[in-house]
Symmetry: C2
Subunit: 441 residues, 2 copies
C-alpha cells in the first residue's frame, strides 16, 4: 500500500507541487456558489463580491455572510466577550491548560532570543541606521472546522507579543470551540489588548483589511485558511501586509540505516494525519530501512482514528523515496524546500550546513516534528509550497518594520552632495540636482 519510489520517479510525481491557488473546486462547492450568487463564479469572483460587500455594508455584511456560510447568527456579538473567554478557560482540563501555558512560555522564551534591535552607525558621517518599531495592529486568522488547533493560536500570536504589537485581533469562524477561546485567554494573560471576533472566511479578511463598525482595521493579517481565505489575503495585500500564501503542510524525513524504523513511521503518520492534502515523505539511502518503515506504517496505521486521511495522504502525496546517496538527498531537499525537514542519521549535525532551503530542521531522532508543532520553541508556522526558498517561519521579524534613519553631518553632506548633484543631472532630474547643489555650499 505505501509507495516506494526511486528518486527519478519521485521527481516526476510527488516532488512536483500543484500551484496552491489554481485548484478546481469540488462539485458540491460549485453548487453552493450557484445557490448563493445565482450563477457559477470563479473563486476569485466569489472573493471579490464578498470583499466589496463588506466594504459597502460593514457589520451588516459580516452578519449576513456568517449566516449564509457558517449558518450562525452572530447578531450583535461579533466580538466574543471577556467573560466568555474566561469561562472557556475554566471549562478545560487543568492538564491541558498547563500544557498550553508551558507551550506558550517556551514559544515566547524562544522568540525573546531573536536578536532584533535598532542600530546606527557613525562610520558613514553623522548617524545612519535602522529604527525598529512593532507593527501597531495585527489580525490573526484561526481556521475553524472539525479539528480546532489551539496550538496555532500560541504559535502565531507569541512572536507578535514579543515584537511589541500593540493590538491583536483574532478572528475565527463561529462557533469557536472552547479550547480555542481558552487558548486566546491564555495569550491574553500576557497582553492586555487581545480581542477575539467570531467571524471567518473572506468576510473576516475583508473586515480586518478595511475595518467595519465593530472590526478595527489592522495593518497586517497572519494565518492560513482555505482557498477562499487565501485568495482574499492576496486581494487585500498592499492595503495591509500578509504573511504569505499557505499551502498544505509538508514533511521530509531524511534517514539512514541507523534510524529506528518505528519512530520514522510514527513521525510520517503524524504528518499524514493532518489532512488529505498533507505531504509526508521519507527519503532514505537504505533500502532496508525503506522496507521496514513501510511495514511499520502499515501496522501503526491500523490503530489511528484518522487512518483514512493518513492513508490517502501517504498514497497520493507522499511515500518513501530511496536515494542512492546523501548528496543526492541534499540536492532533492534544497530543490523541494520542504516546510519541515527531519534529519535522522548517524551524525545529523554534519548535514546542517548543506541545507539551504527548509522552513525548519529537526535534528536527530528525539527532536521530532511533533515537538516542534507544539512546544519546542520556534513557531510552527513555516513556509509551505517551496516558499522556504524565499521566506521564513513566522518570527518576531514578521511583526516589526524598519525605518531608515538619515542624519548626516555637515562635512559629509558637503562631500557627497556634489556627487548627488551629478547623478541627478544625469537622471535629468533638475530639481533633485538643485536640492543637492544647495547643500553642497
Amino acid at each position: 500500500m505505501i509507495p516506494i519510489y526511486t528518486v527519478e520517479e519521485a521527481e516526476k510525481s510527488i516532488l512536483i507541487r500543484k500551484p496552491i491557488v489554481d485548484v478546481s473546486l469540488p462539485p458540491q462547492i460549485n453548487k453552493r456558489i450557484v445557490e448563493l450568487f445565482g450563477e457559477l463564479l470563479t473563486p476569485l469572483e466569489v472573493v471579490r463580491k464578498i470583499i466589496n460587500d463588506v466594504i459597502e455594508k460593514g457589520d451588516r455584511a459580516l452578519i449576513e455572510w456568517t449566516w449564509k456560510l457558517d449558518k450562525f447568527n452572530i447578531g450583535d456579538n461579533i466580538e466574543v466577550k471577556s467573560e466568555l473567554l474566561e469561562s472557556a478557560l475554566k471549562s478545560i482540563d487543568d492538564e491541558v491548560k498547563e500544557a498550553l501555558i508551558s507551550a506558550r512560555d517556551r514559544i515566547i522564551a524562544f522568540h525573546r532570543k531573536q536578536p532584533l534591535s535598532s542600530w546606527t552607525t557613525e562610520e558613514l558621517g553623522g548617524s545612519l541606521g535602522q529604527i525598529i518599531n512593532p507593527i501597531r495592529r495585527v489580525g490573526f486568522y484561526i481556521p475553524g472546522g472539525s479539528a480546532p488547533l489551539p496550538s496555532t493560536v500560541i504559535h502565531s500570536v507569541s512572536p507578535a507579543i514579543v515584537a511589541g504589537v500593540e493590538e491583536i485581533v483574532i478572528v475565527s469562524p463561529p462557533p469557536i470551540s472552547s479550547i480555542i477561546l481558552a487558548t486566546c485567554n491564555i495569550m491574553r494573560a500576557l497582553h492586555a489588548k487581545i480581542r477575539v471576533l467570531q467571524i471567518g472566511g473572506v468576510q473576516a479578511i475583508a473586515a480586518l483589511a478595511y475595518g467595519t463598525e465593530s472590526v478595527p482595521r489592522v495593518n497586517k493579517i497572519i494565518g492560513p485558511g482555505n482557498i477562499f481565505v487565501t485568495l482574499a489575503k492576496r486581494e487585500v495585500f498592499g492595503i495591509v501586509g500578509i504573511d504569505g500564501i499557505a499551502g498544505p503542510t509538508e514533511a521530509v524525513i531524511f534517514a539512514d540505516e541507523s534510524a529506528n524504523p518505528e519512530l520514522i513511521a510514527s513521525d510520517l503518520l503524524a504528518q499524514a494525519e493532518h489532512d488529505y492534502l498533507a505531504i509526508p515523505i521519507i527519503m532514505t539511502t537504505s533500502q532496508d530501512l525503506a522496507n521496514k518503515v513501510k511495514t511499520s506504517i502499515e501496522e501503526q496505521i491500523l490503530d489511528l482514528p484518522r487512518s483514512k486521511i493518513a492513508e490517502h495522504a501517504i498514497k497520493n502525496n507522499g511515500g518513501i523515496i530511496v536515494v542512492p546517496n546523501t548528496e543526492r538527498a541534499i540536492s532533492v531537499i534544497n530543490n523541494f524546500a520542504p516546510e519541515h525537514l527531519s534529519i535522522v542519521t548517524k551524525n545529523p549535525k554534519q548535514l546542517l550546513p548543506l541545507i539551504k532551503n527548509s522552513g525548519g530542521i529537526f535534528l536527530g531522532e528525539s527532536s521530532c516534528e511533533v515537538l516542534g508543532d507544539y512546544i519546542a520553541g520556534p513557531s510552527h508556522v513555516m513556509p509551505t509550497g517551496g516558499a522556504a526558498k524565499f521566506s521564513s517561519p513566522l518570527s518576531v521579524l514578521d511583526f516589526i518594520k524598519i525605518t531608515s534613519l538619515i542624519s548626516l553631518d555637515r562635512k559629509t553632506v558637503k562631500s557627497i552632495a556634489p556627487l548627488a548633484e551629478i547623478l541627478a543631472c544625469n537622471e535629468e532630474l533638475q530639481a533633485h540636482s538643485e536640492a543637492a547643489r544647495r547643500r553642497a555650499k
Copy 2:
C-alpha cells in the same frame, strides 16, 4: 497656485490615498488593449493572458510581446552580452561613473552594518535557533521609459550582494539605456553572477517567475513598475516572493519656523518632479513659513524643465498643510505613514522616538531626501501607499530567509514530550500524540 490646507482639509483630500491597483486606465491604453487582444480586457485579464502565454511558449512569447508592446525586436538577444555592458560603461562620463561607484560603495557599506546572523540558544534544552541563508536567485525589475534611473539599480541590487544572493537577474524593457547598462556593469564588478535581460512588462515578470529557455526561474522578484507589472507581481506571489506593491513616491516635510523656506521649497520640488502621481507635502506649525515656502516654490518652479509635472503633482496630490502644533503633526505622520519624512525643526532628534510609521526619516536641513535618493547609505526603495505601517525599506532582510533549528537534548525531550502528547490528544491528532509518546520513554 500652491494650495495651503488646514489639517482638517488635508485629511479630507491629499492625505487620503487612492488604492494602487484599482486605477482606471486612460482611453488610449484601453484602445491599445482592444487592438492587441481583439476585445476590451481588464488590466488583470491582460496580465493573466500574457503570463499564460509565457508559461506556454517561453522565449517565443517574450520575443512576440516585446515586439508588440515595446516595438523592439530582441530576436535571440534576450540577454545583454557582457561586451555590451562593458562598452556602455566606457561610454559614460568619468564624473558620472565615479559618482555611481561612490554611491554604490556607500550603499554597500551601510548594508554591511545591518546586523543579521544565525543564532542558537542552549537555554531551552539542546540547541534551538535560526539559521540564516541568502535567497539563491533574485530578479530585479528596472523600469525603462524616458527617464532611466540608474540609482535604482544600485539601491536595489546592493543589499542583495551584501546578503550573499548567488545569482542576480536584472530585467528592463528594451532599448535599455547606456547608463542603466553601465550601472549594471558597475554592480557586476562586485558580483560574478549578474545577468541583464532586455525584457520588461508582464512578460518579464512571468519569465522570472516561471522561467523560459533563456530566463532562469528566480526565487524572488524585486522592483517597481506600472500597473500591469504590479498586478503581474501580485499574480505570481506565492510561486516566487515579491517585495511588495509599489505606488507613487511620497514625501512629507515637517518644518517649524526655524526652517529655511528656500531649502524646503527646493526639496518639495525635487519630490514633485518625479511624476504626475508623486505626492509632495509640507507640513508646518508656522503660517509664516507656509507663505514663504509657497512664494519660493512659485519662483523656483519657473526654472525647472519638469515644471509641468511638478506643478501638477503639487496642485493635485500635495501642497502645504498648516498644523496647530507638533503633536497634531506627529499624529498625521503616523496615520499617513509616508515613504519619506524630513524633519526640519530646531531639534529634530527630539521628535525621532515619536515617529512610528515612515519608510525613511531625514533629520535636519542638511540631510535632505535627495541625498538619500542617491548616496546617503540606506536603500532608496522604501514602502509607499501607507505600507510603512507594516513593511520596511529594502534591506539585507529582503534577501535572506530563516530556517528554524530544533535540536533538543534527551532530557528536555523527556520533559516536554508528555506535554506535546496531551496537546495532541486534545487536538484529536492521535498519530501526533503517539509520536510524542514514543519520545517520552
